[in-house]
């Protein structure tokens, strides 16, 4: 009997919680699932077409997403906060080229015919990693610290 009462109270609380949560949800329409216009070759400069004036409705200046060299290198912040914006042009498979958890080859080999793209570990990184790892091991950890590291484990046991 007591168990039934607890379940009823729990159900009531959950129901009320759901109702309150629904009332809290923003009434605004969702961001476009896919970019409505086709984009040209190369890295897009969003602010060439989009308004940067936040007073005219942009949630953030589109210039924040211009694919400059600094953006390509530091895109983690935008991906962390605005993954929907990334998703309007990129499928997740684009991210998996580098951030796959477990990948069969380094990105520089997979993307070898695209030298214009930033691909980690171009050239003989096996040699260079002994130096880069000593200068800043936290830069290795970002991708290799908690992923599948078959190659790392061969030496670092």
């Amino acid at each position: 009997m007591a168990r039934k009462t607890i379940l009823q109270v729990l159900g009531l609380v959950l129901g009320l919680g759901m109702l309150m949560a629904c009332g809290l949800v923003s009434p605004e329409a969702s961001f476009a699932a896919t970019h409505p216009e086709g984009l040209g070759a190369g890295k897009p400069v969003c602010s060439e077409c989009h308004t940067n004036d936040v007073s005219k409705g942009a949630m953030k200046p589109y210039a924040s997403f211009d694919h400059t060299p600094a953006f390509v290198q530091d895109h983690r912040f935008q991906a962390n906060q605005d993954v929907n914006t990334c998703g309007s042009c990129h499928a997740q498979s684009f991210c998996v080229d580098c951030h796959g958890g477990k990948v069969p080859m380094k990105p520089a080999i997979k993307l070898s015919e695209s030298p214009e793209r930033m691909a980690p570990h171009r050239g003989d990184f096996l040699t260079l990693h002994k130096i880069e790892g000593k200068l800043d091991p936290s830069s290795c950890y970002t991708c290799h610290g908690r992923a599948n590291n078959d190659k790392c484990r061969a030496c670092h046991r």
Binding site: L24, T34, V54, A70, E113, D150
Partner: protein, 460 residues
């Protein structure tokens, strides 16, 4: 994830894709070849064949429901190319159903997916939700079983699998005046501490992290963003007299200022305390918490984007590692595009000066971390044909113990491609280089990329 679970998940998701009104299937087939002849060892020939395959199926009964799958498989046609000696392998990178609501950017995902909304970048078999709330708030949460990777040995693997039983996280953010976003996030990975093992272990594979992130973009010419991550885990007591390590895992902040329409200047500061930052690694012998080391780095980048298809970037970074000392990296890149990006050309050079490194290892001279790097590349598209050349050259200071007597290493990659149809491209690469492992190294690669279907997005 067990093999039969993979099969069941794939069968379910792939049959679900048949309902989709818009389905894209895309893949890349790659065949590589190289030979190794190391003195004192048997000659070996490697010919791994790798297949990447992705499916995006949208409008599964409803305009809002979609399915996304991506994975790869590899088979060695001659000697085993994997370090563990296996001649085949494969992995499901992600496979999830997603429902996107028309309102509030709300969505629900279920299956295997990647989340980066909290303090980490996690692969999860579970459920994730997000929505915008009234008043400028945004809420997201995920939970499930963490995707488990391999660690160094069977004993560690047992401990690792036992401890990482559950992962969940959440982020609550607030946007103010459309110029500021402040987020607070929490991540817990594993609920069983190392001390709960049958044979208590010193290595804790679990994590508890609290993160705070911020973005300030008052105008289109200024952008400031970054995050701080705190380690909340209850670590084993330290030895008497030991210094308490910092609970701050990471500070990482970047500011960008645009000067006119062509010049952007960005500066970054990062600080990472290894005891807190490396918590939860599956390679504790490499990412060592017990070193209680710290990294601090700051630097900047100037980018000049001209209207005449020329781009110039100059960058500098100062790195300080508590136990190793200081190093400086500086350099620049030039990039041109001609004929509406049909021809691209890039040149870059970087210097790393580690003269002030205090200690490398007992056998190494002080300057052995300094080096220089140069890169030249070009790519050309003409009709259905594409071609590219990429050369990278690195020169190291004398006395570097990692180079087997060499002073420099280099690698050249040449690629030719043919766009057979809108949906298919074939290409071939050949690379040649010299490095401490192989004085002469030649590798070949054949690639076929294809994409079929009607969905608007996929693969890019």
């Amino acid at each position: 994830m067990k093999r039969h679970t993979y099969v069941a998940l794939l069968a379910t998701l792939m049959s679900a894709s048949a309902w989709g009104q818009e389905v894209s299937l895309y893949g890349t087939t790659m065949a590589q070849m190289w030979k190794e002849a190391t003195p004192g060892s048997d000659k070996a020939t490697f010919t791994p064949a790798t297949q990447y395959l992705g499916i995006d199926a949208t409008k599964l009964g409803s305009d809002n429901l979609s399915l996304h799958l991506f994975g790869w498989g590899r088979a060695d046609l001659s000697d085993a190319s994997s370090f563990d000696g296996s001649k085949s392998g494969g992995y499901l990178n992600y496979g999830y159903l997603q429902y996107r609501f028309n309102q509030a950017n709300a969505e629900i995902k279920a299956g295997r997916f990647t989340v980066n909304q909290s303090t980490g970048f996690e692969q999860v078999d579970g459920v994730a939700v997000r929505t915008d709330l009234r008043g400028g708030f945004t809420f997201s949460a995920f939970g499930g079983k963490p995707v488990l990777y391999r660690t160094v040995d069977p004993t560690s693997q047992t401990d690792y699998d036992f401890q990482r039983d559950l992962i969940f996280g959440t982020r609550l953010a607030w946007r103010s005046g459309r110029v500021t976003e402040i987020g607070v996030s929490y991540l817990q990975d594993g609920t069983k501490a190392a001390k709960d093992l049958t044979i208590p272990s010193a290595t804790d594979y679990t994590r508890k992290q609290l993160g705070a992130d911020i973005t300030i973009t008052p105008t289109s010419t200024f952008d400031f963003r970054g995050r701080t991550v705190l380690d909340l885990a209850n670590h084993p007591a330290l030895a008497a007299g030991a210094t308490e390590p910092s609970k701050i895992a990471e500070h990482d902040y970047t500011a960008t200022v645009k000067l006119g329409s062509q010049v952007a200047v960005s500066g970054n500061y990062a600080e990472r305390n290894f005891f807190a930052y490396f918590a939860g690694t599956n390679l504790p012998s490499l990412f060592r918490q017990d070193e209680k080391d710290q990294f601090k780095g700051w630097g900047g980048k100037v980018t000049w984007l001209t209207t005449t298809s020329f781009q110039m970037t100059a960058d500098y970074r100062h790195m300080h590692r508590e136990t190793f000392g200081d190093a400086n990296r500086a350099g620049g890149d030039l990039r041109w595009d001609f004929n509406e990006k049909a021809v691209l050309l890039g040149v870059g050079a970087h210097w790393v000066n580690a003269v002030d490194a205090k200690f490398v290892d007992p056998a190494a001279p002080y300057r052995s971390l300094s080096h220089r790097e140069a890169r030249v590349w070009t790519s050309v598209t003409k009709g259905r044909f594409t071609g590219s050349l990429d050369g990278i050259f690195q020169r190291f200071d004398s006395g570097n113990p990692y180079l087997a007597g060499l002073h420099s290493v280099y690698e050249m990659v040449g690629s030719l491609g043919f766009q057979a149809s809108t949906n298919m491209k074939v290409s071939g690469d050949i690379s040649y280089g010299s490095n401490p492992v192989a004085k002469h190294e030649t590798r070949g690669l054949l690639k076929a990329e294809y994409r079929f279907g009607t969905a608007k997005k996929g693969g890019k």
